[in-house]
Symmetry: C2
Subunit: 219 residues, 2 copies
């Protein structure tokens, strides 16, 4: 019973995601879905990323949170148009679904942008199951979260096209082996690019920016 | 449509949770449901907690993960009986449901313990919605996760009876104001006890241990 129900919800989502993908393709927009646990530093990664690419690639952001507009407030300072989705209006959803993205996108001028970044709800589980019509997915994991998370949350790392290991500025203060985390990520997803960086200090951020620019240009 | 379905799943869960609560009460067992994001240090908190209470309060653990038995391996070294639940056997569930706890508890000698700690799946959203028949709930938030998480994930902080702010050993290296986090928690849940501690160094752990012992003895 429960499985059938979940299947039906996912089928409806997939249909809507396909429509989103078609719309974004028509508009020539590359869509990146960024996912992570709460507190991994997604918003800071995004702030620093927008600051470096906005002059070259017109971008907008849809940011999902259960509550608050904190992230939208921070991101709008980059000059990018930002739409905040609060999922408590939809029962406190733990992920962004395709129909939510569609509604949010109606608040953006899709002819004016080449890149749409979706900052998903902080959750390393459920968002991985919901196609929103994106072209690529990136997961952010902070080095304070331990080495074993890729093995414990494998679906997230399997469905993503890039992984960011953030907060490397804290490495000197942790009992943590970043090579082990990278190895665990590649055990789940062999050829995924892994970017080790500190969004705070911007150390190591360039390869990530280059990767993202290349993705947008390839579309 | 979707809302009705979710309601039905939650109703079934509530019925099962009530049965669990009755069973645990008959056996005189206090049940604590521990929840957090991935990587907040739940397992380390639990290791150090068990080391300090096992001689006084016979305890067991049910630990939920989507995959791996890493946490069970770590926790079984404390001498406590540990049952690992891997939710990928139930479609990769993002939370522990009441029927899963019931099945897991069948692997424990319920006459031999006074405290059952459930380490839930790492997720700051969904586990808050599922009653498992527990007596109390605790949320662990690490200081690396930022000050705003209680406001962004309010349900978790509303339903919990205690909050642990973990990894205080990292405070010197963060732009982070722990008083702001505590204030944000109390904005959601006015009278909740907040324990600031480092599970790694054990600094500040005693008030948490005292609180837990008192809860068990009051039952």
């Amino acid at each position: 019973m429960e499985i059938k129900v979940v299947r039906k919800v996912l089928d409806v989502n997939d249909t809507m995601a396909t429509q989103n993908r078609k719309l974004f393709a028509e508009k020539g927009i590359f869509v990146l879905n960024m996912m992570s646990s709460p507190g991994s530093g997604k918003t800071t990664v995004l702030e620093k990323t927008l600051a470096r690419i906005m002059s070259e690639i017109p971008s907008a952001v849809i940011v999902g949170d259960i509550c608050t507009t904190n992230d939208a407030d921070r991101l709008s300072k980059t000059g990018a148009p930002v739409v905040q989705v609060n999922t408590d209006e939809f029962g406190g959803d733990c992920h962004l679904a395709a129909h939510v993205i569609r509604n949010a996108a109606e608040n953006l001028d899709l002819d004016a942008i080449d890149l749409l970044i979706v900052e998903n709800v902080g959750n390393l589980v459920c968002p991985a199951e919901f196609d929103i019509g994106e072209d690529a997915r990136a997961v952010v994991l902070s080095v304070t979260e331990g080495e074993d998370k890729p093995l414990k949350y494998p679906l997230m790392f399997r469905v993503c096209d890039a992984a960011i290991l953030n907060k490397t500025d804290l490495l000197p203060y942790l009992d943590y082996h970043i090579e082990t985390t990278a190895k665990n990520i590649r055990q789940i997803h062999a050829d995924i690019p892994v970017f080790e960086l500190s969004a705070k200090t911007e150390d190591g951020i360039e390869p990530w920016i280059d990767w993202l620019k290349q993705q947008v240009k390839q579309k």
